[in-house]
Amino acid sequence: MSTQKNFEEPSYLEYKGKYKGIFSWILSTDHKRIAILYLFSLLTFFATGATLGLLMKLELIAPGKTIMTAQTYNAFFTLHGIIMIFAVVIPGLPAVFGNFLLPIMIGAKDVAFPRLNLLSWYFYVTGVTLVLISQFTGQGPPDTGWTFYAPYSFRTTGNMLPAVFGAFVLGFSSILTGLNFLVTIHRMRAPGMTWLKMPLFPWTLYATGWVQLLATPIIGITLLMIIAERTLHIGFFDPTLGGDPLLYQHLFWTYSHPAVYIMILPAMGAISEIIPTFCHKTIFGYNFIVASSIAIAFVGYFIWGHHMFTSGMSGTAQYVFSLLTFIVAIPSAIKVFNWIATMHKASIDLQTPFYWAVGFLFVFMIGGFSGLILGSLATDIHLHNTHFVVAHFHFIVFGGTGFAFFGAMHYWFPKITGKMYDSRWANTGLIIFFSGFITLYGEMFFLGMKGMPRRYYDYDEIFHTGNIFSSLGAVVMYFGLAVIIINLISSLRNGAKAPSDPWGGKTLEWTIPSPPPVENFEEIPVITKGPYNYK
């Protein structure tokens, strides 16, 4: 498998197209180049968001004012939330690794609509730019939190319109990506690749695509209503005009809960690729993993109300939402069990991506279990809007999607760049990062149980000790991540040349040279076997 078959065809990195220099990137419709565009923009936004996070933690290291005013703090967690959710974890794996690998993994030359794909990236950058513009124009930055709850969001003097419109545009970008992937998967699988011979990462992208397509419009229209309410004074959600602020919450979470599965499903897909490769073993219970992805996407649509348990919904609604919240944990459980079962009787090659996968499983479980505590009515009444929730979602969003993102980055790095990285540094970075992570967010569970509300600029003396630990964790983590990123960047220059299949993977991307040639495949492969065939 590892022989380089084709030397005539230049790699996508070297290919000279119509345009030169930067234009050969920002005008390229090649799915691989677009993926790289996404990767760089996304990392920039991630660094911005993470720095905001660190600054917030430094503010919280002691009660009272430490480094910023309340106004700044409120603006920071708003921007941090918007960037991290809409610009980092929702596009995250699909836009970067999905774009790069989806066509390759299903044996296609590109996505179905290459130009639309490039357009999505432009929407993406425009959306984030609008959000950033909102920080520096008008009467002060938006300060509503990423949830834009009515009626505060049209009472505040903060500069909401560009931020809300930016989120709208980001939603559009997300829809287009999902649409593109759905059509690609329906129409462009290589001959012989039946649905059940498709690898798991494309499967999760497929499930995600439907969620993106069918949930995002709801937030789109909701954000438009907020804009209309602020500019035209149409009464939609303002109680003084007869509107119902709770209806806003319903609509917001009708999107934003499914959105958390947009974030996690592709992450689960990446983990489902990494585990069999390093176990040198076919995945355990392929059909069940596929089914559970679809189940998550479907049931996940109907549990949004668990974000509103203290808002005074009807008892029936509380009952249904809480029950379904527990039901949706089952497909996740199935996945976890199957992944662990795959390691049974395997032959495990302990490489960096596999460590990330193990780390993912651990923190994902913690995040998921804390989700169960929040899904239960009696406990959520106490824990809602405390730092317990903050801990839950950092564990599962950052720990789940974030870990999977870094895992995927280390897994596909050789394929994407054609270079190997130094795994000793990579592992060191991971260990520092992991210990920082646990100190930073683990402590927040206890702060939340004690009753420390979230979005608090200043807090009571009783919460001080916990916050010191948590803030120090953030600093440690910052270092860990710097090590990881610097290691990868320096490997771009100094890394050894990567063979086409460094890990012994069996999916299609490992059958072509690293980095892949412009057209991916010299000849479209004909598929006869399942994706993880190690026999």
Binding site: L214, I218, L246, H250, T254, Y301, F302, G305, M313, S314, G315, T316, A317, V320
Partner: protein, 97 residues
Amino acid sequence: MKSIENEKNHIIPYKTFLYVLAVLIALTLTSVTLTQISLGALTVTIALIIAAIKSSFVLRIFMHLKFENKMFSRAVIGVIMLLCAVITVTLLDYLNR
């Protein structure tokens, strides 16, 4: 997936469209007259049922779903059901307060 290729050239005669148009206009007028006379709570139901019938004509004939791959009609039905389910779940809250 192969079967679609031959259906690509399915040509619907002009006449069919005109018949459908006649039916649609008739339904519109029925709906207008029915709702003008007071039927109480039934009005909403009747108006919505007629709208649903009208839209099924538009979907099936004008939008070719009848002649297209089954996949499309299934997806359309799925999406409509999803939307109804979302509305129902939202109303679970409002109707029981």
